[in-house]
């Protein structure tokens, strides 16, 4: 791997590496390589192993949820004052993860960041699967799960509506809108590729299934025209959602008056944190996936390098938010807030605060170094640490704040139960099961989009590669 494969705009602005490298940089090769993953009779052995583990955890999740439903929320470790703990932490964590996908597909699309094409499909898939995980938690965490539909504004004969003042209701709207738009965006972008799958199908079932899924796509100019237009529209629609979802999620806390929650900086702070964790998750997934499925030509070092840079920026924004929280607590002179932030770092749950700070602020500083950014496995370790740090950030915000709020008489520690821990692990099982199935049966890389950024797609660039690099 040479440095020329990496975006060297900063070192020498005259040159730009190609986005697809190696012998994959042809239209045919792209189709072959991507379709092969789904068409090969057997996936790699590692896929089986990963899938077995993932589905085991999915089964555990099912068992834990069944136990929860039949017994009561008490099987979790929550108490008074810590009425929320792992459940909402997991919810916010997974919603946060869900941000990268739409950011990559929508915002980078609008900014004409062509490098996004290599990663947008599975980043979007990641988004949808994390929204599935995220949406699960508010659903299962309620005390009377059989009445959870009361959170929906369903017209009923009693004229009872939900409380439109409650941030939890806003959450419901924000997350469900986000999920809908994300699924639409993801699926619509996938239609041309699904049509390729259909066209290459060798079995009846594949033909039927992909045929239905591809909605009769024939690749006509008219199709492409409508497709491009609606993709742009959806991107425009999804862009504000990226900012709104986590802003609304942050209202769950910002609107409440618990010290450590009640803060006006939460919306941007949460959005930055969400993008931060989302990109970390993309890297966590991309690094093994690209080597497992031979996608190094599509998800190149340049992609990883770019994502690392975004992570670094987000880390600095998160660090700024942390700093501001402390400053505001100090400057507000509210004894409750001051105590909370003292307690966050030096109280009995200091470890959570310091791990959060280390993982989210200190560790990402490695990414200032180019050699770190270009080492995929180092990147992955950093990304995993960031994910841990970001989970703990939500944990710290929720549990550390709740466990010691206004009246010292009500302070109480929090200890998760095994059911809670297994449910968290099970949610990863759900996520990875879905993700591995996606890798196996759906186009992991947006073939049509990648083809559009090949030099061949543009007449003025259709010289050979060597020529392009000449001054």
């Amino acid at each position: 791997m040479t440095a020329t494969e990496i975006d060297n705009t900063l070192t020498d602005p005259r040159f730009r590496a190609t986005l697809v490298t190696g012998d994959s940089a042809s239209i045919r090769a792209i189709t072959e390589k991507i379709c092969h993953i789904a068409e090969s009779p057997r996936p790699p052995r590692a896929w089986y192993i990963a899938f077995a583990i993932a589905i085991t955890f999915l089964a555990i999740l099912g068992t834990m949820i069944a136990y929860l439903f039949f017994t009561g929320v008490g099987v979790w470790g929550m108490n008074r004052p810590n009425m929320w703990a792992f459940d909402i932490t997991n919810f916010v964590f997974w919603v946060g993860i869900a941000h990268a996908g739409t950011l990559i597909s929508a915002i980078l699309f609008l900014f004409r960041q062509k490098w996004r094409t290599g990663i947008n499909r599975f980043a979007e898939a990641m988004t949808i699967f994390s929204v599935v995980c995220a949406g699960m938690f508010p659903g299962i965490h309620v005390g009377r799960v059989w009445f959870v539909y009361w959170l929906f504004p369903l017209p009923n004969q009693m004229g009872l509506w939900p409380n439109f003042f409650s941030p939890l209701l806003w959450d419901f709207f924000a997350v469900s809108t986000y999920a809908t738009v994300s699924i639409l965006f993801w699926y619509m972008g996938m239609v041309p590729d699904l049509a390729s799958f259909r066209d290459r199908a060798t079995t009846k079932w594949r033909f039927l299934l992909y045929g239905i899924l591809s909605l009769g796509w024939r690749g006509s100019y008219r199709h492409w025209h409508i497709y491009e237009k609606s993709y742009l529209l959806l991107a425009a629609l999804a862009t504000p959602l990226v900012l709104s979802v986590h802003s609304v999620v942050s209202f769950d806390f910002a609107v409440a008056q618990v010290p450590g929650w009640h803060s006006t900086i939460f919306p941007p702070y949460f959005v930055a944190g969400a993008i931060f964790s989302g990109f970390a998750m993309v890297i966590t997934l991309a690094v093994p996936a690209r080597s497992l499925f031979g996608l190094k030509d599509f998800i190149t070092m340049r992609h990883l390098d770019n994502m690392a840079k975004i992570i670094l920026v987000m880390s600095l924004m998160v660090a700024y938010a942390y700093l501001m929280e402390f400053f505001v607590a100090y400057y507000s002179a509210s004894p409750f807030d001051r105590f909370h932030f003292l307690n966050r770092m030096f109280g009995d749950m200091w470890w959570a605060g310091w791990i959060m700070l280390s993982c989210n602020v200190i560790v990402p500083q490695c990414l200032w170094f180019k050699w770190m950014r270009q080492n995929p496995w180092a990147l992955m370790i950093i990304a995993v640490l960031i994910n841990i740090g970001m989970w703990l950030e939500r944990f710290v915000i929720i549990v550390t704040s709740l466990s010691r709020d206004f009246l010292p008489s009500s302070w109480h520690w929090y200890m998760p139960s095994y059911v809670e821990v297994l449910t968290l692990m099970g949610s990863f099982g759900l996520f990875f099961t879905l993700f591995l199935l996606f890798c196996r049966y759906l186009p992991m890389i947006a073939m049509a989009e990648v083809k559009s950024i090949l030099p061949q797609a543009h007449d003025y660039q259709s010289r050979d590669r060597k020529g392009a690099t000449e001054p």
Binding site: Y67, F70, T71, G72, V73, G74, V75, G77, M78, N79, R80, P81, N82, M83, W84, P138, H141, V142, G143, R144, F147, V148, W150, L151, L160, W161, P162, N163, F165, S166, P167, L168, L169, F172, D252, V255, A256, Q257, V258, S334, P335, F336, F339, L342, N343, F346, G347, D348, L402, R404, D405, F406, L407, P408, S409, S410, W411, H412, W413, M415
Partner: protein, 1064 residues
């Protein structure tokens, strides 16, 4: 208060013929009904003959005639009474459809004095009635001989079997019979006793005031009962007494004490007066937390201090209280005692000493002499119902020893109600004596330790009736008689003391007959009529049955009592044990879930009796809270001091200590570090450590009685112990407040915030500036807040404005309100594990904070003794309620009357409201606490065993029983508000409902139970209501309101203490 219709003995009882009232209906209409029934019965029978019978033929009786004083679904109060330790306690029991559901104090009774005041024991006694672990039938255990000899067999018998046994075994005049009872001052029991003239009668109570009476005997020659009149005292000196908890009289004491501490007239704040409480104690009791001056000393120091006080008085008996010199030991309490003595001198006839029940008779004698000398307001009452003759009177401790001796030679041993095997000093080995008795009978509510000891020897256990199941009469401290009416037929067929005694005497009669006859011959003698009987039943007390206080004999007290009895041969360096009366009382309430889950007001630990120890002593021994230690009684007084040297004063002979040692058990207890405890002193509550009593009591805590010995009396009742940690065994105590070791950051915060949460001041500060440190809220709202003060065209308020005031000066932390709330509002108990996890359900809790003095640098000095503060906390009913805003389904809403309401059936359980509640008063049903047992909370619902039917009977049908997954909290007893509204609307349906109801129309359960009147509920729109007056006082404040603008309807009155200026 209607009286029970005594013609049908147990009318309205669910097991009785509640609907079958034809007997007392009478009249011609009845006949036709019976005829109708006959025809109906015949037709059913015919139908049965002609067709294949599918149902058993039953006679049906329609509920055609409503018996008097019975309305379906309408609660009715009956006056009844119970007795603890020989003190009659007047009660009002609320009956709903034939089952009692709530107990309160009887306002006409001298203990409650006007309110529904009661203590936690009375409040919780209703749950004891429905205890599924109560014994259900006479049981005989006898040897089984045969090829498969399996030892002894437990055989359930009938009462007829028992009667046959009694007839064959017991001589009708009672000769050969040895009886041990609980203390009872029931005239009927006294009368029934005469049926068995030859029986030897002994009386024992583990917690009794007999030491006081023994002291009085020493001083005055008669074992009189001393009743301090705290309302008449300006200076109260409590010597190791827990006035407000664990004493049957605590309701009266608390009420009298609080009467001297009401500062409700802010107009005259500068002239406000208060009594002053000095507390010298060997533990840390709620009395200590109320103290204006408190000093904690080891138990062994109490006698020398009392001796010194007495000596200072004896030196100059002519000028009784004018020239008191200062007692000397110990060194660090010189200032305390000097101030105390000067205060006593300054309040002649207005100062009183009160002494703890457990202290030795000599100390009581000395204090009786002191009280006499300073002309203290103490009433002395004689006790004619006492089975012990005044001439040959001996205290309970000696009675028990005499009983143990008599039982060994008795033909039949009968133990009535008491549980001496548990409560007796361990070295008496009563279990062994009873199991070797020729024949033994135990009568009690439970098959307890004594029952098992009797049955081990082939004896009987017979079930007794709960006080709500039986007719009885009791006398209280001043002799006032209350007739106890049953509210329900004995659920398990138990019999009362008088019924059992009449059965044994071969003259079996129903309780009602006996009580009526006693009334005729005793307290209603000469004025008995149907009217006076009914009047007495209805009032709950017999008019003019109180006795006059005895005038003290004309002997000079100090001349007779030269204080030599109080000697000081104690070992101050050794570890000493202070026995505590906790929520189990002497062990009779240990199977009561409400009391077991009631957090101790001082430690806030429930479901255990931890071994309390001061932080310094714990540090010295390397102990932490939750450590399990082994307690060993050091019979030879040997103990390690700081240097490891041993001390052995030879107060006990070596031989005796050897014998004792063989019988004494080592017990394991769990350490709880209690600030303010005297050093080298350990506190342990009695009544715990049960193994085979019932589902609630078993394996809870340690049995402190195992450390007691008959030899204790020789040493002023001081128990010397050794405490050793062994292994790493840890018992996680269920403590509802700052249980875990709080780090420095948290502790600093607590120290900083306590003075904001509980505004406190001295009387002097209050006189200068009644508002003290309270901060008033200035609310600048950007929107139109709800108008709770809207008026109609006539200028009348459209809505009530409910509010509640809590006087922190009066609150003793006694926790009667917590149990009352639990009883009224169907609050489930959740078990130790669940409380440990922080999921207790009490709607009303009493927070306890410590306040340490600051050292010269302004730092909190945690090694010094703190003051303790109690703060009852219930839903604040904020006008700007943070919980309401965040509920996604509008389950938490606000009423026009300002109630923060909780719609259980709308709640889905997101728990957001609890997170946003700054007071954390919301409680969540993590499990189906009401629909299964505590042992299987973690079992999926479909596999769970259902709750016992009996426990369901204790529920108040006017309050929803909450299911799993629902949030709940204090409602200001909305069911009582609505009941009052219905009654008022029914009454005023023609004239129109008044916009202001008379003050006191609605009384919350906590307010009703509070012995000190610290809780006041009412309408804030009524300017003349008590609550409106209290809330407008300068010293009233709303918790966290200045910070959060929640506008709570619950307001606190600042805590005011009255310390004297300390004399240096």
């Amino acid at each position: 208060m209607p009286s029970m219709n005594d013609k049908t003995d147990f009318e309205g009882a669910p097991h009785g013929n509640a609907g079958l009232c034809g007997d007392d209906g009478g009249g011609g209409g009845n006949e036709s009904r019976r005829t109708f029934l006959k025809i109906m019965g015949a037709s059913i029978a015919l139908a049965g003959l002609t067709s294949c019978r599918r149902w058993p033929a039953e006679e049906l009786a329609p509920y055609a005639h409503r018996p008097p004083s019975r309305m379906d679904g309408v609660p009715v109060s009956y006056a009844t009474a119970t007795e603890i330790g020989g003190i009659g306690i007047g009660a009002l029991a609320v009956s709903m459809d034939g089952r009692p559901i709530k107990i309160d104090g009887n306002p006409t009774h001298p203990l409650s004095q006007g309110g529904g005041a009661s203590d936690m024991y009375l409040q919780a006694s209703i749950l004891g009635l429905y205890d599924p672990d109560r014994s259900r039938s006479p049981v005989l255990r006898r040897d089984v001989t045969g090829p498969r000899n399996e030892g002894r067999e437990r055989i359930e018998k009938s009462w007829a079997d028992f009667a046959a046994f009694a007839k064959s075994t017991i001589h009708p005049d009672g000769s050969g019979l040895v009886i041990l009872t609980e203390a009872s001052r029931s005239p009927s029991v006294a009368a029934t006793r005469k049926l068995l003239p030859q029986a030897k009668w002994f009386e024992y109570e583990a917690i009794s005031n007999d030491n006081q009476r023994a002291g009085a005997q020493q001083v005055f020659g008669r074992p009189l009962r001393a009743v301090p009149q705290l309302d008449k005292a300006e200076v109260i000196v409590s010597i190791d007494a827990d006035l407000f908890n664990g004493d049957p009289m605590s309701t009266k004491y608390a009420r009298d004490f609080a009467a001297g501490r009401k500062l409700h007239d802010s107009a005259n704040a500068s002239h406000a007066t208060m009594n002053r409480l000095y507390v010298l104690e060997s533990g840390f009791t709620t009395t200590g937390s109320m103290a204006d001056h408190r000093h904690a000393v080891q138990p062994s120091f109490i006698a020398p201090i009392v001796k010194a006080i007495l000596a200072s008085l004896s030196s100059d008996t002519d000028n009784r209280s004018s020239r008191l010199s200062v007692p000397t030991p110990p060194e660090d309490m010189a200032a305390f005692s000097r101030t105390l003595m000067q205060d006593i001198a300054a309040h002649p006839g207005k100062a009183v000493f009160v002494v703890g029940q457990r202290l030795a008779p000599e100390i009581h004698a000395a204090i009786a002499a002191i009280n006499f000398a300073i002309n203290a307001p103490v009433d002395y009452y004689a006790d004619p119902e006492d089975p012990r003759d005044e001439k040959t009177w001996t205290p309970h401790s000696e009675q028990l020893i005499a009983f143990a001796k008599a039982a060994q030679t008795a033909d039949v041993v009968l133990i009535l109600g008491a549980n001496p095997v548990l409560t007796a000093p361990a070295d008496l080995d009563l279990a062994n004596i009873l199991s070797k008795a020729k024949a033994s009978i135990h009568a009690g509510l439970y098959e307890d330790e004594t029952a098992q000891a009797c049955m081990r020897g082939g004896g009987w256990h017979i079930p007794m009736a709960h006080y709500l199941e039986a007719w009885s009469d009791v006398r209280t401290f001043d002799g006032t008689v209350s007739i106890a009416q049953p509210l329900i037929e004995p659920i398990f067929g138990g019999k009362s003391t008088i019924e059992i005694l009449s059965l044994l005497a071969g003259k079996e009669r129903r309780g009602l007959e006996i009580v009526r006859e006693t009334a005729k011959n005793d307290y209603l003698k000469g004025r008995y009529s149907e009217w006076s009987w009914k009047q007495s039943l209805s009032n709950g007390i017999v008019e003019n049955s109180a006795r006059k206080p005895e005038s003290l004999p004309g002997v000079h007290a100090l001349a007779r009592h030269d204080a030599t009895g109080v000697h000081a041969s104690a070992c101050h360096d050794a570890f000493q044990l202070t026995l505590i009366t906790g929520s189990a009382y002497d062990g009779r309430f240990t199977n009561n879930g409400w009391l077991m889950e009631l957090p101790d007001p001082m430690t806030r630990v429930c479901w255990d009796n931890p071994l309390l120890v001061s932080p310094q002593t714990a540090a010295k021994l390397g102990l932490q809270s939750d450590d399990v230690v082994r307690i060993r009684r050091t019979h030879d007084y040997q103990s390690r001091d700081r240097k490891g040297a041993t001390h052995s004063p030879d107060a006990l002979s070596h031989d005796r200590s050897q014998t004792v040692a063989a019988l004494m058990e080592n017990i394991d207890a769990t350490i709880f570090i209690m600030p303010g405890y005297p050093n080298a002193t350990f506190g342990l509550a009695v009544g715990y450590g049960r193994k085979t009593l019932g589902a609630i009591a078993n394996n809870v805590g340690a049995n402190a009685y195992a450390l007691t010995s008959t030899a204790d009396a020789q040493n002023h009742g001081i128990i010397y112990i050794d405490v050793q940690k062994y292994g790493d065994k840890v018992n996680r105590l269920a403590c509802v407040q700052d249980h875990h070791v709080i780090d420095k950051v948290g502790r600093d915060r607590m120290h900083a915030i306590v003075s904001d949460l509980i505004i406190e001041g001295t009387l002097a500060q209050y006189q200068q500036h009644p508002a003290l440190e309270t901060r008033k809220t200035i609310s600048l709202s950007m929107w139109n807040e709800h108008d709770y003060d809207a008026k109609d065209n006539n200028g009348d308020y459209l809505n009530h404005k409910w509010g509640l005031a809590i006087d922190l000066t009066a609150c003793t932390g006694c926790s009667a309100c917590v149990v009352a709330c639990q009883s009224e509002n169907n609050i489930p108990i959740v078990g130790k594990e669940t409380v440990y996890r922080g999921r207790e359900m009490h709607w009303l809790r009493i927070d306890r904070y410590f306040k340490w003095p600051k050292d010269a640098n302004g730092n909190v000095d945690e090694t010094s003794a703190p003051q303790a503060l109690h703060q009852p906390l219930l839903c604040m009913h904020c006008e700007n309620a943070p919980c309401e805003e965040v509920c996604p389904v509008l389950a938490s809403t606000h009423s026009r009357e300002g109630l923060n309401m909780m719609a259980y059936n709308r709640c889905v359980g997101t728990r957001y409201c609890s997170n946003n509640c700054p007071y954390k008063v919301r409680r969540f049903n993590f499990f189906d606490y009401n629909f299964g047992t505590l042992q299987n909370l973690y079992v999926p619902n479909i596999l769970r065993e259902d709750i016992n039917e009996l426990v369901k009977m204790s529920k108040n049908p006017q309050v929803t029983v909450r299911s799993r997954g629902v949030m709940e909290k204090c409602t200001y007893c909305i069911q009582r508000i609505e009941a009052a509204r219905i009654a008022i609307r029914a009454k005023t349906r023609h004239s129109g409902e008044p916009s202001i109801w008379p003050d006191g129309t609605v009384v919350t359960a906590c307010q009703q139970a509070c012995p000190t009147g610290a809780i006041v509920f009412g309408d804030l729109h009524d300017k003349n209501s008590k609550v409106a007056k209290l809330c407008s006082l300068a010293q009233s404040y709303a918790l966290l309101d200045p910070e959060l603008n929640t506008k709570p309807r619950t307001r606190y009155l600042a805590k005011i203490r009255n310390p004297a200026e300390m004399t240096r």
